[in-house]
Amino acid sequence: MLPKQTVPFHSSEKAIDRMERILFGDNQFFGVNHASDEKSREQLMKFKTDASIIKTLDIVKSAGVQTFMCTTHDRILHICEYIRQHPDNYKAYKIYPCMPYAHKYANAVTELGIVGALKAYMPGNIFTTAFKGGMAYLSDDHEKMMELLVDAEMKMFHGIDTPVIFLQNVVTDLLLGLKAYGLLASFHAYVKKKYRAEAGFITMNLPLLSDVLENLGIEQPIICASINKEGFRMSGGKHAYEKVLAEKKNRVIAMQIFGGGFISPKEAVEYVVNLEGVESILFGASSAANIVQTIEWINKRSSE
């Protein structure tokens, strides 16, 4: 068992005034590659050990990027443990958790069905013992269920500064499509109350989500969406995205700026740094050279 050391919680009343211009993502660590299945397997091999992930995060940190945006993958647990054990090295460090790690649930649903998957991933044995009437009682209270799932996913980040907590696109967009808007609002309210954090929403449907969050009365929501020169995964069209960026008061993080790897890095950066309404840029890369170069480009072009 690893010793438990914690760094102090940095967040003030307002979780975050301004996000860093550049955020580092985790897709490469877990074999998520939108352009090539083969590349994703190579990356899985490269980042087999926790040490290899930490080494890369430290390269990013040395290049000046102090925010790591990551899914609640099981392996992040070890990274968090390392950060807690080395508080002096990670004083200003922030993690933006993105939950849930969807494939874990999707595969469980295929195999166990929806109820079976919930049983498998709900914390403790709440279905059987903890609550009066067990599942029948709980299954009616969707807000409570959401809160329990958020708490379960947040456990691994205790003692780490997590000023923004994201809902993954598969869940955001599922709730959006189902028009289950109330749960988007509940998530926003809950992370603020419990974790003193801002809610973030990852989506592949920025224009639609922007309208919905505005109607829910969520002011200046943090939204992370695919934004790239080629219009890749920009549902509703590039033009609609550019209009939302220019006209709405969202705090937007651009992701997939390389369009899944087929836009040249220079062109990709050029497009996104010149866009009005983009507060931050999320990117991930495996090699030190690519990481340092991309950060340099973004910083250089952003300051021009």
């Binding site: 877990f30 074999g31 998520v32 590659n33 939108h34 352009a35 090539s36 299945d37 083969e38 994703s40 397997r41 899985l44 494939h103 999707a106 595969n107 649903v109 295929t110 195999e111 166990l112 069905g113 929806i114 109820v115 079976g116 599942m135 299954s139 009616d140 969707h142 598969v170 967009d173 599922l174 959006l176 499509g177 189902l178 028009k179 289950a180 109330g182 749960l183 592949m204 449907n205 639609l208 080629e230 219009g231 890749f232 995964r233 920009m234 549902s235 509703g236 069209g237 369009g259 899944g260 790897g261 087929f262």
Partner: protein
Amino acid sequence: MEYNIRLGIIGLGKMGISHLAIAGGNTSIEIVGVCDTSKMVMGFIEKQTPYKVYDDFRLMIKEAKPTAVIISVPTKFHAEMIQESIDNNVHIFSEKPLSLDAEVSLQLAVKAEKAGLVHQVGYHNHFIGTFIEMARLIKKGALGDMYHFKAEAYGPVVTKSKDSTWRSKPDEGGGCLYDYASHVIDLVNYSLGEIVKVSGVELKKIYSKEVEDAVYSTLHLQSGLSGILSVNWSDATYRKMSTKITVLGTNGKLIVDATELKLYLNETVKDEIYEIGWNTRSIGTLQHPVDFYLRGEEYSAQLDYFVESIKRNRTTGQNSFKDAAKTDRAISLIRKSN
């Protein structure tokens, strides 16, 4: 005014909920009812969404009067629900496989055609840009004389022994053959030609007790071309389902998955951009964007296609019941010869 399709959704499992969300993002669709027997799921829909819920699909068809339905229930119930939909003159989108009996599937195809109804099955790979391009290149003869293919899919669905659901019961349409391999078999039928014979079949149980976790076989097509089927849903080295088709011919080789198309050519092909040697195209350059995205463009694209078919009264479109019946026939050939 936009054409409004009154849609009912029967079955809210993993696929049904996904269809409901995608349909909810489609401006041509009005969702008039959703139906399932799970109290927990329907409690969620009733409380959190604007939709009217039913626990009896016949009642839903009668009361909500949909012009089209999506059927996403365990495969063994498909035939009965499709029949009811045909009887009520309702267009049908059914999840795959179409039924557990190839003969029944063929009968349903004939009935739906006779009734002049749009009928489509959820083999969503047909709507992935890389596979569409693969089918086009093969049809054009870009590979010369084809002499071998390899059709594969791997994923981490069952990686240890656990509780069972209908997907672990062979008589309800569970198992790797119905669930995973059907997609690959369908891609072969769609792009390379109809499977008429199988040999060397191995259905292997790895962690499951009642169903196979892997399917290995040689497939023989009507054209005389043969190749290998290799599907395993108990492979933990994959993050999610990964499907790949490799085709070899006298003019080169094609390797295609959902993210990339790689083509090696000995000689150029008339009116094509592809060069001699290796050519690589990423999905980003081959996929048409969609208006609402959830889990992959192909899921929205197949529903858009279904909607378009209804609007245009196109009853002989892609992924028809007849096409799906061919896949069911190949599945039964594999099952019988094991």
